[in-house]
């Protein structure tokens, strides 16, 4: 038995030897499989730029005089902002009658604009917090500008609900919105989602500002260290709080940043959920739906990424930042738009299905009226912009062609404005009794107040790129190979 085994083994051995000898003589019939090629991640900073190049490229923007286009852009935006504040003054001094809203549509452009702007903000928080928790390193190139966009969008959003109350001084008076002891001995009424909204939006604005500022501290220190004149040095020095890049500080800083990301994630999800409660908690057909919170959040991220692209595509080419905000970054954002756009499309379909399946004639009527009633044009604009346009991003060409992405990003934002308009106005304009039906049309004050809010938004954004680093310098450095002590470019001697 054993000898047979040995001989068999010996036989196999000799056969193996023979095969080996053969392989020298002629190539084997079946070639050995080549090992699969190692997949190399596309670098986040192109052309192997050095750490110093990154500092110069980003900090340089706010150190050199602004390029020529900046001033006209700023003056136009500033004019728009002035127009908005004048119209707000006109509204406050005259009354809400200067707007087109009236019974039954007593929410119209004001709340549409509010939800539109607050939704735009959501992409900034998603990029800065959610993508951070998911360890998406590509976020580092875009998070600073996106967070700034969030803050400015929240600033625009905050104006509309306050001024739509008409007598603004009541809204801002302690006791109505803000719980504070007052002469009338009354307190706000916490059973109303409108008050939840006050807390959600103000918390969101505050936490976004803090998160943004904490992220800015090391970069402000960079600007302080590079400052060539005393005023710049003093101001950047003041706001960088004496940051010294000490690792004992980085240790606490990184922990705080992680926690803030962890806090902002449930926060951003709650904000648009609570905004949707303003509608969903009511009994109005077309508003009273449980799908609203996730549907609003998806729509918010969808529109926010649209706005991020609208701002960043011109910014990257005007300031020559193509090596930091690469085509890959744009492509990834397009994919987020595709994903959230599909969710929004699904929600539109599901709303209709539930309106039919739920068996409430009022609900079904509201939805039929939405698509085929007097506001059909708004509904189908929304469908075209939000359901059809994101699906262009299935194609690589569409994601890689900058002007095309930019156009689609604007279409997305138009669509998302229409979505809010459709939800708000079509649900309200036909009340339960045909005698209280109406048709809302905006006045010129409605239109120009909204247009002016873009002026405010752009003014703030242009000032931001003028004075603050528009890309997170230290974070971008941290994702380069030079920052990795185990990478040859980071100085590692031994080969891994």
């Amino acid at each position: 038995m054993s000898s047979a085994a040995i001989s068999a083994g010996g036989n196999a051995h000799s056969k193996g030897k023979k095969a080996h000898a053969d392989s020298h003589a002629a190539p084997p019939k079946i070639a050995a499989a080549e090992p699969p090629k190692e997949l190399v991640r596309e670098p986040l900073v192109l052309n192997g730029r050095s750490l110093a190049w990154i500092t110069d490229a980003i900090a340089g923007i706010c150190e050199k005089p602004m390029p020529k286009w900046w001033w006209p852009a700023f003056i136009i935006s500033f004019g728009g902002m002035g127009m908005m504040f004048s119209l707000v003054a006109y509204l406050i001094s005259t009354g809400v009658g200067v707007w087109g809203l009236n019974q039954p549509a007593d929410w119209a452009w004001d709340i549409t604009n509010f939800v539109f702007w607050i939704g735009i903000g959501h992409a900034g928080t998603l990029i800065s917090a959610v993508l951070f928790l998911l360890r998406q390193k590509w976020r580092t190139s875009i998070n600073r500008a996106a967070e700034a966009m969030t803050l400015f969008a929240v600033a625009c959003a905050g104006i509309f609900p306050v001024v739509h109350t008409g007598r603004v001084w009541f809204a801002l008076m302690p006791g109505y919105l803000i719980p504070f002891p007052n002469a009338n001995y009354i307190w706000p009424q916490f059973r109303s989602p409108l008050l939840w909204d006050v807390f959600a939006v103000s918390t969101y604005g505050t936490v976004s500002l803090l998160f943004w500022y904490v992220g800015l501290i090391p970069d402000l220190a960079t600007l302080r260290d590079r400052a060539t004149n005393k005023i710049r040095g003093a101001l950047y020095g003041l706001f960088s709080l004496g940051w010294s890049n000490s690792n004992r500080a980085w240790c606490n800083y990184e922990k705080a940043y992680l926690i803030l990301a962890g806090l902002s994630t449930p926060l951003v999800l709650s904000v648009h959920s609570i905004v949707s409660f303003d509608f969903a908690v009511s009994q109005v057909p077309g508003w009273h739906t449980t799908i609203f919170p996730p549907y609003f959040v998806a729509g918010a991220i969808f529109s926010g990424f649209g706005m991020v692209l609208t701002l960043l595509i011109p910014m990257r080419s005007l300031f020559h930042l193509e090596d930091i905000i690469t085509t890959r970054h744009v492509e990834l954002m397009c994919k987020v738009i595709l994903a959230t756009g599909s969710m929004v499309g699904y929600a539109y379909g599901m709303e209709f299905f539930i309106a039919w399946y739920g068996g409430s004639p009022y609900e079904l009527y509201a939805f039929k009226n939405r698509a085929f009633g007097p506001y059909w044009w708004a509904y189908w604009s929304m469908i075209t912009c939000n359901v059809i346009s994101p699906h262009l991003f299935w194609f690589k060409w569409c994601r890689k062609t900058m002007w095309f992405v930019w156009l689609v990003s604007i279409v997305v934002n138009i669509g998302m404005w229409f979505e809010r308009f459709v939800i708000i106005v079509t649900s309200l304009h036909r009340d339960y009794l045909p005698s209280s039906w109406g048709y809302f049309t905006p006045t010129w004050v409605d239109v120009f107040t909204f247009v002016g809010s873009f002026g405010l938004f752009m003014t703030l954004f242009l000032l931001f790129i003028r004075f603050l680093p528009a890309i997170a310098i230290s974070e971008v450095k941290a994702v380069t190979p030079q920052a990795d002590p185990h990478h040859p470019l980071g100085g590692a001697k031994e080969h891994h």
């Binding site: 001995y185 059973r191 606490n252 609570i274 002590p485």
Partner: protein, 180 residues
Amino acid sequence: MSAPVPQPIGLLAQYETAADILHAAVAVRDAGYKKWDVFTPFPIHGMDDAMGLKKSKVGYFTFCGGLTGFSFGMWMIWFMNKADYPLVVGGKPLFTPLFAFPVSYELTILLSAFGTIGGMFLLNGLPRLYNPLFNVKRFKKASDDKFFVFIEMADPKFSTEKTRELLQHAGASSVEVVED
């Protein structure tokens, strides 16, 4: 009063790459120094272990903030809508934690964020008005592309020669005395 004469306070060594600074940190830690720090333009992965730092305590501040926020929110709504000025609206109860939850939730997050940032500032000693290292010209590169180790003279193991040798042996491109 005449200006005080600058006194040496420690040694500052410059390193050129992330790997160098990581190895230098390990060397300083293993030599048993306590009063020292590393300065890098961005957080370097693995540096906390290389320096032998303990886990950051920021989380405790977050927790305290969050707990305060949630309990304050619940208490505030109970006090305002049930205790101080009870007013029935739409036949709803004067207080339940259900309708009080969204606002308390937001306040939890708000005060957690305040706690986190306040805690981080406290632990890092920020804002800091004066830092003698900022008098060193080359230290400005700590926020650009250079890496530094600073060992304080106050450290019991400090000796000008031996410490300098340690820093240089770890690959420093320059070592200088910092005065204040």
